[in-house]
């Protein structure tokens, strides 16, 4: 009889167990080989064929657009983005300045007029001159109160419905309806007289469902031709906008969120727009048709969006020269485009390295890695930055209520170090409140941004009665935890800089709740001034424009009628009046520039904020990267129309 002990008995069964394990390993290996074979035949996302006549060079931004209308498109362009759009793909979110990022902007939805992207790239700034988009021409009355757009003919939405003046009218009043008949429904601008104006959405929708907008019923035409309304149609290709006040930047506002044209007939046929704050979710993943070169053919929530070229895109008939003049109308070089929502930075980088995608977002240390391999990777860098970062100084509490103290601070900051620490060197010095992008409206007084000058800074402190910083308490600086990744290094640089002149900074990284708890309109900020810290570093993602007009940033950041953004609580009646006047100076651009020059002088002398830089990377510490040679290097980024969503215009990307 065998001795009974576990060690012996365990050894006795070894062969069976080992044979079993080997069988399992063989099965697993076999299955692995099978799927590996399957993968190589079915999961390739890199385009296998490329457009034969698409050309690309790196010498000029305009040559990227030589893809002609007769070029047969093929292949798939795959892009990794790191965030799913807030508001999904529903363009009805436009009054709330969403969706963000708007992957459909320019590619699915187009505007009546277009920004001159080529000029932007060449000049690094907004030219103030627009290109024909869906409108072939437009004009403004001499008093800048009446604007008339003449639309192109032969344009259809991707569902086949006609684009015409009636559709523009319906889109315009959909915005009015979705903001509960707000007088500031158009990009938050108080420019229309909406007294007594109502839009019977249900009746209008029923009529549209009955007759459509290709050839609307006489009842619909009567409504849309009513000249007492802020907008009225005079022919199928002509629409007028009647403002209540002169506003020379009205054309500019059409390049913003609410300028994107969608098919209202489709919207009414699929349940209508919904209501304010409760939009029809049917369009979240099945977006409203647009007139652009691509249409959405599939979307999975927080996963991917598929685009396919629209076979009857009106821009297919444009010549290469016309597209070169207005690249945003480019029909595109890829038949299919897939944008993946991949949050993980590692996964994004691997997808780029492996060739799974042609464009991928790289951020933080991955950005630095890719940036260091300039012979392998190309980066999308914004040549016309409009996203600003700065430090608020509470102008209402001691000691930052003293102008000399603020001037000491702005003269003590080493801006080069700040840009290096916060944006890996990808930042443009600027002098707010306007962004460098705004061309003639940026720095109209031609002031030089503050330079690091410790001697001058120390003198300002002495003049204020605080020689060597004696008498100044430690200054608390707030950072929103959501922006900590790039603002914390900036804060440390500033703290070190200010220590040079005897000012101690107490950096506090606070929750979003704490950071924003006392901010609101100027009046709100003023009421809460005692609770707001003396220093606070910018917005989480910087500030970016909602539409292309100087009224946007000037009004928001330095006036007492600011609805959001005057966190410095800067109060200058003269500046407020000057900024307010630029909205009502008709077409007198000289008067506008003069007003802004005077206002800028006041701001420069009083330094309400410490303007740091304009970000050249869409994610401040990251951007879209590509392997050199896989795509053209001179594709265009989305124009600065919609906040900070600086994403590639994928219809301008072509195989490398």
């Amino acid at each position: 009889m065998l001795p009974i002990n576990s060690k012996y008995s365990l050894r006795a069964i070894s062969r069976v167990v080992i044979v079993g394990i080997v069988i399992i390993i063989i099965i697993v290996a076999g299955v692995g080989v099978y799927f590996a074979t399957l993968k190589t035949t079915s999961t390739t996302t890199t385009p296998t064929t490329t457009s034969s006549s698409a050309t690309s060079t790196t010498s000029s931004s305009t040559t990227a657009t030589t893809t002609s209308s007769t070029t047969p498109s093929s292949g798939t362009l795959s892009i990794d983005d790191y965030v799913w759009p807030t508001g999904n793909l529903n363009e009805l979110n436009a009054p709330g300045f969403l969706p963000y990022p708007d992957w459909l902007e320019g590619t699915v939805y187009q505007t009546l007029v277009s920004v001159n992207l080529t000029a932007e790239q060449d000049l690094g700034q907004f030219t103030g001159v627009f290109q024909p988009g869906l409108a072939s021409s437009w004009n403004a009355s001499s008093n800048a109160e009446t604007y008339t757009f003449t639309l192109r003919t032969g344009i259809t939405f991707s569902d086949g419905n006609d684009f015409n003046a009636y559709t523009v009218w319906a889109v315009f009043f959909t915005w009015y309806y979705l903001t509960n008949d707000s007088a500031t429904f158009w990009s938050a601008l108080p420019i229309f007289n909406t007294t007594g104006v109502t839009f019977n959405e249900s009746q209008f929708g029923a009529d549209v469902n009955s007759s459509g907008l290709n050839s609307p019923s006489s009842a619909l035409i009567a409504i849309m031709s009513n000249t007492s309304l802020p907008a009225y149609v005079t022919s199928p290709t002509t629409i007028n906008f009647q403002l209540d006040t002169p506003f020379p930047f009205f054309i500019n506002s059409f390049t913003g969120f609410q300028g994107m044209m969608f098919d209202p007939t489709y919207m009414f046929q699929h349940g209508g727009p919904g209501t304010d704050g409760n939009l029809n979710p049917a369009f979240n993943l099945t977006p409203l048709p647009g007139t652009g070169p691509y249409m959405v053919t599939g979307a999975t929530f927080q996963s991917s969006v598929q685009f396919t070229q629209y076979s009857s895109y009106w821009g297919d008939s444009l010549t290469a020269a016309q597209i070169a003049a207005n690249p945003i109308l480019n029909p595109g070089s890829y038949k299919n485009v897939i944008i993946y929502d991949v949050t993980s930075a590692t996964t994004n980088l691997l997808n780029l390295q492996n060739g799974n995608v042609q464009l991928a977002t790289v951020t933080g240390s991955n950005f630095q890695l890719v940036n260091s391999e300039s012979s392998t990777y190309g980066l999308a860098v914004i040549k016309h930055p409009a996203t600003l970062d700065w430090m608020f100084m509470n102008n209402q509490i001691f000691p930052t209520n003293i102008t000399d103290v603020r001037l000491a601070i702005v003269n003590a900051i080493n801006y080069t170090q700040v840009i290096q620490a916060g944006a890996f060197g990808y930042g443009t010095r600027m002098l707010g409140p306007e962004a460098p992008y705004y061309g003639p409206y940026y720095d109209p007084g031609n002031y030089t941004p503050y330079q690091t000058n410790y001697t001058a800074a120390a003198q300002y402190l002495t003049d204020a009665g605080f020689p060597g910083g004696h008498g100044i308490p430690a200054l608390t600086m707030y950072i929103d935890v959501l922006g900590e990744f790039y603002e914390s290094p900036i804060a440390q640089v500033i703290a070190a800089n200010l220590a040079q002149i005897g000012i101690t900074v107490n950096i506090q990284i606070v929750t979003d709740a704490v950071y924003y708890q006392y901010y609101g309109t100027y009046a709100t900020n003023l009421a809460n001034a005692a609770k707001i810290p003396p220093l606070a570093l910018g917005n989480v993602a910087g500030f970016a424009p909602d539409y292309l007009a100087p009224t946007d940033f000037w009004g928001a950041f330095v006036t007492t009628y600011s609805s959001w953004g005057n966190f410095a609580i800067f109060n200058s009646t003269e500046v407020t009046n000057l900024v307010a006047s630029i909205s009502h100076d008709g077409t007198n651009t000289t008067a506008i520039t003069d007003a802004l020059t005077t206002a800028e002088g006041i701001i420069y002398a009083q330094a309400p904020d410490a303007w740091l830089f304009a970000a050249e990377l869409p994610a401040i510490q990251g951007t879209y990267a590509y392997k050199i040679g896989t795509i053209n290097s001179n594709f265009f980024m989305e124009p600065n129309l919609e906040g900070v969503s600086d994403i590639p215009l994928f219809n301008t990307v072509s195989p490398g």
Partner: protein, 333 residues
């Protein structure tokens, strides 16, 4: 019934804690959700203040929330502009199939490893296996996921890095259960099933590798104990073969203890699922939960937390019932 009542109490506690914590994240949730735009759109702000009763005290807001839950209304996801019930119906099936697949992997790896560890107890193979599962248990879930991606996607190019299917070639199976893998299986869409499995292997494995060690340890310990117990001695005395003793008597009886681990394994797997889905861009509820947290979207945080808590409570309840079933000595009051 008492267990069921306890489960309800747990869910109530989870809802209270999550509600309070979520609301403390942002004093002005509208700014957090919509940014500056909401300030410029008073109508929209007013609407959200009304539907979330943001002007009311917190306990009143909680009352409305519970009232909604009792009517199967999870609320509205501001970051996604969708009813949460819709989002849950879109994302939960992906999570369920991922968790199920990870449990299969956990069982295969954990049991195999446990048997081998018991077989070679105290010897080199046992020490290697112990090192492996301790490494897995000690590694954060996101670390395992990244290592898997780097090795199997980045270096060997065997598995895809992200997603749940190939967007270009995927054809959805007919909807029956709303769980894609199950639907593909039921309808015989083998290529679709293969693709779904192929994309789910790495995320499921990343979940399993962090949790299988629990199973291995318990199985190893129990089998070693059982092999020196009296009924095994009796079996040997009856000249039962050692193979039969090991696999039939020792392993089978050890499985009872494995059932008690089911709840723990599912709990840990659900936590790891959050990281796996986020890193592998898997479109399940875990990814939605993380993205919602990053967006400070607390209605979504609340909903996902409650659903995960409900799954955990149900799995615990199921494990208790199963345990009582397989071991008649166990009786719950």
């Amino acid at each position: 019934m008492r267990r069921l009542g306890t489960g309800v109490l747990v869910l109530f506690g989870v809802s209270v804690i999550t509600f309070v914590l979520a609301h403390s994240v942002s004093s002005n949730p509208l700014v957090a959700w919509f940014g500056r735009g909401i300030e410029e759109n008073p109508g929209l702000a007013q609407h959200y203040f009304q539907i979330y009763h943001l002007n009311d005290p917190l306990y009143i807001q909680y009352f409305y929330y519970i009232d909604g839950l009792l009517h199967l209304n999870l609320g509205w996801a501001p970051s996604a502009e969708e009813p949460l019930t819709t989002i849950v119906s879109q994302t939960l099936p992906w999570t369920l199939e991922l968790i199920f697949l990870s449990l299969i992997f956990t069982a295969i790896i954990g049991i195999t490893s446990g048997i081998l560890s018991a077989r070679f107890a105290g010897r080199l193979p046992d020490k290697i296996l112990r090192g492996l599962y301790l490494t897995g248990m000690a590694s954060p879930a996101f670390f395992i996921a990244i290592v898997l991606i780097v090795v199997f996607s980045g270096i060997f190019h065997i598995f895809p890095t992200s997603g749940a299917y190939n967007v270009s070639t995927y054809v959805s199976p007919p909807t029956i259960t709303h769980i894609p893998m199950l639907d593909a299986l039921i309808t015989g869409r083998w290529s679709t099933l293969g693709m779904l499995l192929w994309y789910a292997i790495l995320p499921a494995l990343s979940i399993s590798l962090g949790v299988y060690g629990i199973l291995t340890r318990v199985l190893r310990s129990n089998m070693i104990d059982l092999l020196s117990s009296n009924f095994i001695r009796a079996a040997r005395a009856r000249a039962v073969s050692e193979n039969r003793i090991f696999l039939w008597h020792a392993f089978k009886n050890s499985l009872v203890s494995v059932i008690t681990l089911l709840a723990i394994i599912v709990n840990i797997s659900l936590v790891a699922d959050l990281f796996a889905e986020e890193i592998f861009a898997y479109p399940g509820m875990g990814k939605f939960a993380v993205d919602s947290a990053l967006a400070l979207d607390y209605p979504s945080i609340l909903a996902t937390t409650l659903i995960f808590a409900t799954i955990i409570v149900l799995v615990n309840l199921g494990a208790d019932i199963m345990y009582a079933f397989v071991d008649p000595r166990i009786r719950y009051g």
